[in-house]
């Protein structure tokens, strides 16, 4: 909605034309629309043979649980996965986009993707949107150069770490990691530690909950453990079995349509 007399070529990306008007409305007391945030616990750690990623499965809209079992560990490449916290649409879109870009890149180069490539593509995209794309990611994978684990912040900064946590439950999870992490963990020790860290987020952070998802990445092999732990079953199912529908049929009317319409048998098939 540009007000200039001559319209230039349409630029892609965000339009900030309504920002001043929105600010004025908020000052007058209007509540802005809310986004589906994943109020999350996501973690990653490096163990002796590779990388393990973990995530909870609750998606919230304010105080309400929108999805009790969503997937927060996203596929980037056969050897690279990424956990996402922040706005669900943003994490989904940005990981899908980079995944496509890497597939094309693999066709072009004929080589396995590297984690630093995904890292650079993600960070430059997020930086160019100056933090408006609200995606906080834990990127992990194993390539020819070895195992890698990175965190990526919404404004585009990155860290390279042996263990990392993000999301509203990051403090609860980091407390577990800082107490129990050491170098050279075995696969089972690593999975156990990641599950413990995510569980800590699930039970101590209200923004995280439901189940534990885990992804184990090693040289040439990946293991996606969807719902590895399900520590939150429904606690009460009514003895009644089911509740009555509480609906009343007011009127039943059957109109045979073949009396109203001309039906031609054996005509030509519809064109596409």
């Amino acid at each position: 909605m540009s007000k200039s007399a001559i319209d230039g070529p349409t630029k892609g990306g965000f339009s900030f034309d309504l920002c001043r008007r929105n600010e004025m409305l908020v000052k007058k007391g209007l509540k802005g629309p809310s986004f589906l945030k994943t109020g999350t616990t996501i973690v990653g750690l490096v163990f002796q043979d590779g990388v393990i990623l973990g995530a909870d499965t609750r998606a919230t809209e304010g105080p309400i649980v929108a999805d009790k079992n969503c997937e927060k560990i996203h596929y980037i490449a056969p050897n690279i996965y990424c956990c996402g916290a922040g706005t669900a649409a943003d994490t989904e879109a940005v990981t899908d986009m980079v995944s496509s870009q890497l597939t094309l890149h693999r066709y072009h180069t004929g080589r396995e993707s590297r984690v630093v490539t995904a890292l650079t593509l993600l960070k430059s995209h997020l930086f160019s949107y100056q933090g408006y794309v609200s995606a906080a990611l834990v990127l992990g994978g194993v390539d020819v150069t070895g195992p890698h684990l990175h965190t990526i912040y919404p404004h585009g900064s990155t860290d390279t770490l042996p263990f990392a946590t993000m999301g509203s439950g990051s403090l609860a999870a980091m407390a577990v990691f800082e107490s129990k992490y050491c170098e050279g963990l075995t696969r089972d020790e690593g999975v156990q530690l990641v599950a413990e860290a995510i569980s800590s987020g699930i039970f101590n952070d209200l923004g995280s909950g439901s189940n534990v998802d885990i992804c184990v990445l090693t040289k040439g092999h990946k293991e996606y453990l969807r719902n590895h732990l399900q520590p939150n079953p429904r606690t009460y199912i009514s003895q009644k079995g089911s509740f009555s529908k509480k609906t009343e049929v007011l009127l039943t009317k059957i109109t045979p349509l073949n009396k109203l319409v001309e039906v031609i048998e054996g005509g030509d098939a519809m064109e596409e």
Binding site: R58, V65, K68, D205, S208, R234, T235, S238
Partner: protein, 223 residues
Amino acid sequence: MPIQQANWSPYDNNGGTCVAIAGADYCVVAADTRMSTGYNILTRDYSKIIQLAEKSVMASSGFQADVRALQKVLEARHLAYQHQHNKQMSCPAMAQLLSNTLYYKRFFPYYSFNVLGGLDSEGKGCVFTYDAVGSYERVGYSSQGSGSTLIMPFLDNQLKSPSPLLLPAKDAVTPLSESEAVDLVKTCFASATERDIYTGDKLEILVLNAKGVLREYMELRKD
């Protein structure tokens, strides 16, 4: 320098949900036991229910510091009543007292969302539901708190409250047996816990009838 606004609030919301259902000769009052602030849990084992008189039980969600202060005021007033009248307050009398106490602080309210349950002078179940400043109504069932928006429509569907506009005024009580009402309450909380992050941990249920008060607990999801 841009104009600075005051950003300290005397209130906080500790979350939680309360429900009460009245029957022909009983009343069920229930609340979860989770106390939280922001995204953190303060404790998993905090009772939001208090027995104010022999036949009056109040459950309150909201800001627990204000809730506790309100409970203490009502307890003290009830003790004074007992000294003056040599008897316990009836539930409708307690209901009026609660309303007046809340309105007394109309211009710095108790951040407390209450349901009062009990038996009236005829021994029938009664439930009174309040807003933060004392507006109240006798009803057959009610819920307050963070999960009330999830529970109320379900109770409306199951208990089909007679319209208050119909005259003559129908009886406010619901045609359920005591065990059916308890089963309904448990279902309400198990469901609200699934979708409301502030509700969970444990459910405390109080059943008032002619025999006295029975307390029951049920585990809820802790995530």
